[in-house]
């Protein structure tokens, strides 16, 4: 069955069986392996991608369901060598240990800041409550998202209307 999905701004077409999961379509058909496949039972959130800006579990969606929709994966966050504010936050605050949950965490964090640019710690913890970090590195993940919120606010103050990005290396 033919399916066309906009992935990171580019229309991608594939021929898949209806039973193929979105995570498998991204990883196997499109070779976008930044989206991880973890529990495969809708429990852990490492497979999180954004569908029209909202975080969802790509292990619990069929590729054919997403026909015509717009998807952002972790590969779509940076602009070339320029990290997004959330990526820079994870770099700056050491928001990862083994890194397996990181793509999902960063996408959930990105969606949160789009909706709520200045979240409280409770709001951040609630937003990432569907994303499990098996290393239990939540302290720094929360700090990373807070850092990103700060960077975005500063960038917005400096250049209204321009999305916040910082140089690779987190502005060092």
């Amino acid at each position: 069955m033919k399916v066309t999905i906009k992935v990171n701004g580019v229309e991608r077409t594939g021929d898949v069986e209806p039973r193929v999961l979105l995570v498998d379509f991204l990883r196997s058909n499109l070779r976008l392996t930044g989206t991880h496949n973890g529990c495969d039972t809708s429990s852990c959130g490492v497979c999180t991608v954004l569908v029209d800006g909202e975080p969802v579990k790509s292990c619990t969606a069929l590729a054919v369901q997403l026909e015509g929709r717009s998807i952002t994966t972790v590969e779509g966050l940076a602009q070339g060598a320029i990290l997004s504010a959330v990526q820079a936050g994870f770099h700056e605050e050491h928001g990862l240990q083994c890194g397996f949950c990181t793509p999902g965490m960063m996408l959930t964090g990105t969606a949160l800041l789009e909706r709520n640019p200045n979240p409280t710690e409770d709001e951040i913890r609630w937003a990432i409550s569907g994303n499990i970090c098996r290393c239990t590195g939540y302290m720094n993940i929360v700090k990373a998202i807070q850092h990103a919120a700060k960077v975005r606010a500063e960038a917005a103050a400096a250049k209204p209307g321009v999305p916040a990005t910082v140089g690779a290396g987190g502005g060092e």
């Binding site: 039973r19 495969d40 809708s42 975080p55 969802v56 054919v64 609630w126 409550s129």
Partner: protein, 292 residues
């Protein structure tokens, strides 16, 4: 983990979807957000020949208040997150937003729907108790027309509903009194995203300081979502004193039929029902007194 193979259709209109269901009967399975169905397909607990994805049917994602009698019509594609964030619902029927907030996790809530959840009819599902507490009506549509199924008749057993294979639930009608009404949803879960150990939905309507109407639904303590009818009857027409509420809570716990499992013993769960119904009634009555 791939599901077993199935055919897939994504009709663009309700009429087209109903025709497909008429033709395929119980070989077909309706999918909205897929948050219950896809895990079942992966585990092969469900092996339909055809999945009918209704997500592209227009106008099914609405949440609207009908002026005539004040009920809220929740469309088949209204997601948990839509209910959680609805400002109108937060004011008129806070129990709905409260229950939505407890469902699964934020990622699942971005795709799953209330209607899909009740059609899945998991005894540990949260929305079943909510629709029982409100005394909601479930609107089933087929090629022969529409019929209204009362929430109490809708749930027939674990993962079993009164729905026929050629029917789609197009909306759920939640009656919300315009005067002094209020509710609460209380849930005990081991961690975010787990099913309830126990949860309780309570909705009351006050008239002149007395309980004009009470609805209580129990989650994960039986083979389906349970309506605590004895407790409801006990409350009817009485002033909600501490003693009346305590007795209603005791009756609700008697109605519950929990089993021992990894989440707790049956005795423990019964006691959680009692405590939650007591707390929930106090919160609901407080909210009803403040409501305009």
């Amino acid at each position: 983990m791939l599901p077993a193979a199935f055919d897939y259709r994504a009709p663009a209109s309700l009429n087209e979807a109903l025709a497909i269901l008429k033709q395929h009967g119980d070989e077909a399975k309706v999918m909205a957000g897929g948050q219950s169905l896809i895990p079942l397909l992966k585990l092969r607990f469900s092996r339909p020949e055809l999945v009918v994805d209704i997500a592209r049917i227009p106008d099914l994602n609405t949440i609207k208040r009908e002026e005539a009698d004040g009920h809220f019509a929740i469309g088949a594609l209204a997601r948990h997150v839509d209910i959680e964030n609805s400002k109108e619902l937060a004011t008129a029927a806070p129990m709905l937003a409260e229950a939505a907030h407890w469902i699964a996790d934020p990622l699942v809530r971005n795709r799953g729907t209330l209607v899909g959840s009740i059609c899945h009819a998991d005894p540990a599902g949260d929305w079943g108790s909510v629709v029982l507490a409100f005394g909601a009506d479930i609107v089933a549509t087929s090629q022969s027309g529409q019929r209204v199924i009362h929430a109490q008749e809708f749930f027939q057993g674990p993962f079993t509903t009164a729905l026929n294979p050629d029917e789609i639930v197009t909306e759920v009608r939640i009656p919300v009194a315009k005067g002094h009404s209020g509710g609460a949803y209380l849930k005990l879960e081991r961690r975010v995203g787990d099913f309830a150990t126990v949860a309780v939905a309570v909705q009351v309507e006050l008239d002149g300081g007395k309980i004009a109407k009470a609805g209580i639904g129990l989650t994960a303590v039986g083979d389906r979502n349970i309506k605590a009818a004895d407790a409801e009857r006990h409350l009817h027409g009485k002033e909600p004193t501490d003693a009346v509420i305590a007795e209603a809570a005791r009756l609700a716990a008697e109605t519950a039929e929990p089993k021992d499992d990894a989440r707790g013993s049956a005795a423990y769960k019964k006691d959680v029902v009692r405590v939650f119904v007591q707390r929930g009634l106090k919160t609901a009555v407080g909210r009803a007194r403040e409501a305009r």
